[in-house]
Symmetry: C2
Subunit: 346 residues, 2 copies
Amino acid sequence: MIKRAKRVAVLSPVAWRTPPRHYGAWETVASNLTEGLVARGWAVTLFATRDSITRARLHAVIDRGYEEDPGADPKVAEYLHIAEAFEHAAEFDLIHSHYDFMALSYSRLIQTPVLTTIHGFSSPKIMPVYEKYRDGYYVSISDADRAPTLNYLATVYNGIDLSLYPFQDRAGHDLVFLGRIHPDKGVHLAIEVARLSGRRLIIAGIVQDEAYFHERIEPHLDGQTADYIGPVGVAGKNRLFAAASALLHLNTIPERFGLVLAEANAAGVPVVAMDLGSCREVVADGQTGFLVSTPGQAVQALGRLAEIDRRACRRRVEQRFSIASMVAAYERVYATIFELEESKCR
Amino acid sequence: MIKRAKRVAVLSPVAWRTPPRHYGAWETVASNLTEGLVARGWAVTLFATRDSITRARLHAVIDRGYEEDPGADPKVAEYLHIAEAFEHAAEFDLIHSHYDFMALSYSRLIQTPVLTTIHGFSSPKIMPVYEKYRDGYYVSISDADRAPTLNYLATVYNGIDLSLYPFQDRAGHDLVFLGRIHPDKGVHLAIEVARLSGRRLIIAGIVQDEAYFHERIEPHLDGQTADYIGPVGVAGKNRLFAAASALLHLNTIPERFGLVLAEANAAGVPVVAMDLGSCREVVADGQTGFLVSTPGQAVQALGRLAEIDRRACRRRVEQRFSIASMVAAYERVYATIFELEESKCR
């Protein structure tokens, strides 16, 4: 039973507006969660930049995201913003922080419980902070992204806005890669699969590693094996999904949480993904795509695409990777925290 | 009346060890103050790096200064270090922070009063933090370095260790410049004064602005007008003071607090300084040196050096710029804070 009268503060980063105009994955999650909680009747205060857009009560001391404000000092913005939320802690039953390790350092100075969604470990150097505050409440964004030395209340997958990715009934012919052009994302492996399977690969995304692009990708952009179309927005993604027989995601390092896999599945597009990190959690092997370990296995998987029920792909995303499922999962986490806190008082 | 049973936490930076091996002005002040307070019977806990050296109780969570530790993440070190002190706030009657604006952001989350020595405003961008926490206790390091929008309990001058700079009875013949080789420090003006007065200038210090050094300084290093001897330690400074008829400090921007002026005076050396910033507070015009506004006035001042009583120079430093005078001044500030806090409770 969720008590609807509970007051929740959502602490969003201030690198970008919430929701962000373009980039800003953490701000996106904070926004989707906040609006979802408001819709479900929670009393939510969003701590974010002053130009943020929300139906919750907005509490802001920083005018604009420091990444969008040439006059800003990120360190000053960060300290002022985080401290402000904690100074108002007594007004809330829970502070839900999306502000990495920095916010944790204030958590023992207040009475209000603090839930931290760990959106990823940017460096092993930040682990000592998470370890110091390990008696706090942590949520992971995938089972694969958990640190073995920490305790987690739950894994809550980031939810996507399903209305942005309408279901497409008919499969296209191309292969699609969507993501940063970087060796970690295995774009070169996707090209190899395209070459071996005789299917054309459309590559979309920002070039993050110029040398990699020029040496390993560009030579194959002949319009037959592969094409590069630059970064795309939501409309561009939907056009790609319409053209796709499958999304190829042959990442070479563990994926924290592959949002694009869920987006493709939402549109009904099967995913062929490397079995590394969280891919196994997003893709149901044999049902919404295939998990592989080599380009050769990926080519074989492409021969089995007819086995995939495109509606099952959509359904799985609705159940597990939608904003609604994310909000519901956080509601369960909040309920657990309130029960644990009450048991402390008894 | 100072109550000796009061427990004080001194929060030093963790950029360097406390005291620092070489550079580290703020860590030096924190160290001098801590050891001085211990000698006076206070119960002091020093929050600093684990390799720090102190007679106080050392509380450390960071092994080495992040500037001395290639494996360190400064941001992680800073957050862990500052939070640790505030998490132990209840053990202290006062937290005396030397940790800039960052520590302020924790100050409203605890009951213990926090005194912040503002060692300088690194940028106008940090002012919003000082303004937000303006109801806190601030100390300036010179009257000249005060921000007009803030309230200060006192100015407390940094104290130097007088035993490092023994009094030298007899004046030398040279002029001396000691400091960073940078246009702000007016080394070119000192050279002009040397040229006009026919006295040799010895320049010591690190070259911070290479172009300035090559264009404005190097052409004059003929061994007659000027000589450059590189950076010097304490022994080198004392040799320079022995050779000096006067220290020239013709800074072109306001000085926050000219420690080298006090060091020269401690050795009995008169100071000819630009009347900008805190120079007027350190040098007593006509008694321990001369304040000037132009190189021409500096040349005239050199003709009046015989008016300066070298013992008076030493005496003034003992009274105003020694560790003892700094500790005594902070004891008065602490007493004021304790009185103000008690009046709040009544």
